[in-house]
């Protein structure tokens, strides 16, 4: 991701079939990534090639983010974005 502007560090976590979209250097399905200030959840996920239709469960610091808000929520340093395709269990 472009880092010419001021950046913040966030944790990107991609699970189940989305793990293939994690950048190099990831561990335990998570990677620390630097993002430009003003980056939204959707733009982060777009950059890493996570298909929009696969972004079923998106948690920001553990809290669900409805689809309509993901393009508006600005990431802050230390945030953790975790994403799953449709999954269930029990």
């Amino acid at each position: 991701m472009t880092t010419t502007a001021a950046t913040v560090s966030v944790t990107l976590k991609l699970y189940a079939s989305l793990g293939v979209h994690l950048p190099d250097g990831h561990a335990r399905n998570a990677a620390e990534v630097a993002v430009a200030e003003g980056t939204t959840i959707d733009s982060l996920l777009d950059y890493h090639g996570v298909p929009r239709e696969a972004r079923h469960l998106v948690l920001l610091n553990g809290v669900f983010q409805p689809p309509g808000t993901r393009g508006n929520v600005i990431l802050k340093g230390g945030d953790a974005v975790a994403v799953w395709p449709p999954v269930a269990g029990g």
Partner: protein, 616 residues
């Protein structure tokens, strides 16, 4: 149709075997499996009976879609009064046993009394016999399965058996079929053991007739298409199994950890679905070999695993070196997060032993967790444990505990009591994370508020499978609700409870409901069974079943005071994650729930409610 209209009644006391017609009036009101067998049970036993006495009965029951072409139509249930809970018990299992019972021509088997000596039952279509089980009493589920197939020269038999845990009446022992599927909860295995019944072996050559074959095939094909095209049932569950929840629930801050002291486990990833498919550093092979389907299932969420042969837990134990039933989420949580153990191979080994000896891994793991807290507090010591250093996080201690519990040896005898009786013994009953004596499954109700009400009101004690509001509160199925609030949860819990009771009475797996609604299920039942089966009728039937179970429990002595949670969940706030600072708001939800149910403020169904639901 759907039903055979025939049941077997086995009196174990005198060895008599009778057949009788299924009560078809009841079948129209309770459908099958959970609902119909519970109706038989409540009509035939005193609710106050000692669950381990000959006066208790145990019913193995199928649903009308068991053994048919419907996807997941292989389920059967064991209905009895639970040894762990003293409440109504219904434990549901997949595999192939249920379908085989239908193929043999029977809708259910009712076991009465107590055999004077260990026996097992064989059902070859209409040929039904009791056999001396002296050679397999004291043997594992796996050894009993092998022995019976050899003795009867039939490798195609499908067998449900108890292990040594059931024989020893470990209060949370289960009944295992097809080697690693189980009617797991509430201590149904202990009831079977109390009757000196080791196993039930089936071989059937008959089919299952349905009312309208053409319409049934169209309805089931439509249902399979929905399952296949749904991302959860078509891709998520077959690829990752239920274990995919490990990281979800941990991230959401609802992961009970170290006997619910915390709500997030730092080792969760290491025992998750994602970890199961990673090649091990030790031998280069992943823990997970493949997935597996139960009879007729087009989802195939089952896990088949193989343990690293160099792992400490299986040295000189070749019986655990083969591929067998791997970790499901609930077992991985109970054995792992709740004990603080992050060793995937150790958890898999303990899960194998639970299948081999017939232990419910949820209650076993949760009981070990409670014991670990007692040990941490100095209330039990190495002297109590026979030298086991029972620290949170010790895989070695967990392995030792499982090897003692089923056999009821040493400290295993105390662990076999379940967490409530264990904690009572050491003066701290509040440390048992249970409701009605049954341990919680894998969701902390401070982070998923609806699950607090689910647990508190579950008729079989704490259970996620009575109303899985996790589906809505966390996973967004069928629609997303906020897990951190109590608003709307009483209605949500009631809706899940009623719908689930209907599904549990059909012969289908509740996992279909990640994709199906009753609108998908009703046409399949309607094409198979006499009567008009609409979604509305199924939902009303589910409500009837729920109330019938409640009435039984009330007569057994349960009151509103038993619809409760341990104080840890209602007074000790979560320490981290989205639920940080929250406790469960049960007291806000319970009165509204009673009102929605048509119950008094004391949790008793009113005469008007019973009359509306046509409950005698």
């Amino acid at each position: 149709m759907g039903w055979h209209g025939k049941i077997l009644r086995i009196n174990l006391t005198d060895g008599t075997i009778k057949t009788e017609p299924l009560n078809m009036d009841w079948a129209q009101k309770y459908l099958g499996q959970r609902g119909l067998a519970t109706k038989y049970l409540v009509e035939e036993i005193n609710p106050k009976v000692d669950p381990l006495s000959p006066e208790n009965k145990m019913i193995m029951a199928t649903g009308p879609l068991t053994g048919t072409a419907a996807s997941t139509g292989g389920r059967y249930s064991v209905i009895t009064k639970g040894a762990l809970t003293n409440a109504i018990a219904c434990s549901n299992s997949g595999g192939y046993f249920g379908a085989e019972l239908k193929f043999a021509g029977w809708d259910m088997i009712i076991f009465e009394g107590k055999s004077p000596k260990p026996v097992y039952l064989t059902v070859f279509d209409d040929k039904v016999e009791l056999h001396d089980a002296a050679d397999i009493w004291g043997k594992s589920v796996w050894d009993a399965d092998e022995y019976i197939k050899k003795r009867h020269q039939d490798p195609m038999m499908h067998i449900s058996a108890i292990g040594v845990a059931g024989e020893n009446q470990v209060l949370y022992s289960c009944i295992v079929n097809d080697l690693h599927r189980a009617a797991g909860r509430s201590g149904v295995g202990a009831v079977m053991g109390s009757k000196n019944l080791k196993a039930v072996a089936l071989r059937g050559t008959k089919g299952v007739k349905v009312k309208d074959g053409m319409r049934f095939l169209k309805a089931t094909a439509a249902g399979k298409k929905v399952l296949q095209e749904n991302a959860v049932t078509g891709q998520g569950l077959p690829s990752f199994g239920t274990q995919v929840l490990m990281n979800v629930i941990n991230e959401a801050g609802a992961m009970p950890t170290r006997n619910h002291r915390q709500v997030q486990f730092e080792g969760a990833h290491d025992i998750s679905a994602e970890a199961m498919v990673e090649p091990r550093k030790t031998d280069g092979h992943p823990n997970l070999l493949t997935n597996q389907a139960c009879f007729g299932c087009t989802i195939a969420c089952g896990r088949i695993s193989k343990i690293d042969e160099n792992h400490f837990s299986i040295q000189n134990k070749p019986q655990y070196m083969h591929a067998s039933g791997g970790l499901e989420y609930e077992a991985a949580w109970a054995l792992g997060c709740n004990t603080g153990v992050d060793d995937l191979e150790a958890l898999t080994m303990v899960n194998f032993v639970c299948n081999e000896q017939g232990l419910d891994p949820i209650s076993f793991g949760a009981t070990v967790s409670a014991a670990m807290e007692l040990y941490d507090l100095g209330l039990i010591t190495k002297e109590t444990t026979g030298g086991i250093d029972l620290k949170f996080g010790s895989a070695e201690a967990l392995v030792k505990c499982v090897e003692l519990t089923g056999k009821a040896e040493g400290f295993g005898k105390e662990l076999g009591l379940g967490s409530l009786r264990l904690c009572q013994k050491y003066g701290r009953p509040e440390l048992s994370m249970s409701v009605k004596g049954q341990e919680f499954p894998a969701y902390d109700s401070r982070g998923i508020q609806g699950m607090g009400l689910t647990y508190a009101t579950s008729n079989r004690g704490a259970c996620h499978l009575r109303s899985y509001t996790v589906s809505s509160e966390i996973l967004g199925i069928p629609e997303k609700t906020d897990p951190l609030v109590t608003d709307g949860k009483p209605a949500l819990v009631k809706a899940f409870q009623d719908a689930t009771a209907a599904v549990d009475s059909s012969g289908l797996c509740v996992f279909t409901t990640f994709a199906w609604t009753l609108n998908d299920i009703a046409p399949q039942i309607d094409a198979a069974c006499e009567g008009e089966w609409t979604p509305e009728r199924l939902l009303e039937m589910g409500e009837r079943i729920w109330n019938m179970e409640r009435v039984f429990n009330n007569k057994a002595g349960f009151t509103a005071k038993d619809d409760n949670l341990p104080p840890r969940l209602t007074s000790e706030p979560a320490e981290s994650g989205p639920a940080k600072g929250l406790v469960n708001g049960l007291e806000k939800m319970l009165p509204e729930y009673y009102e929605l149910r048509g119950w008094t403020a004391e949790g008793v169904p009113t005469n008007e409610t019973l009359s509306r639901l046509d409950i005698a």
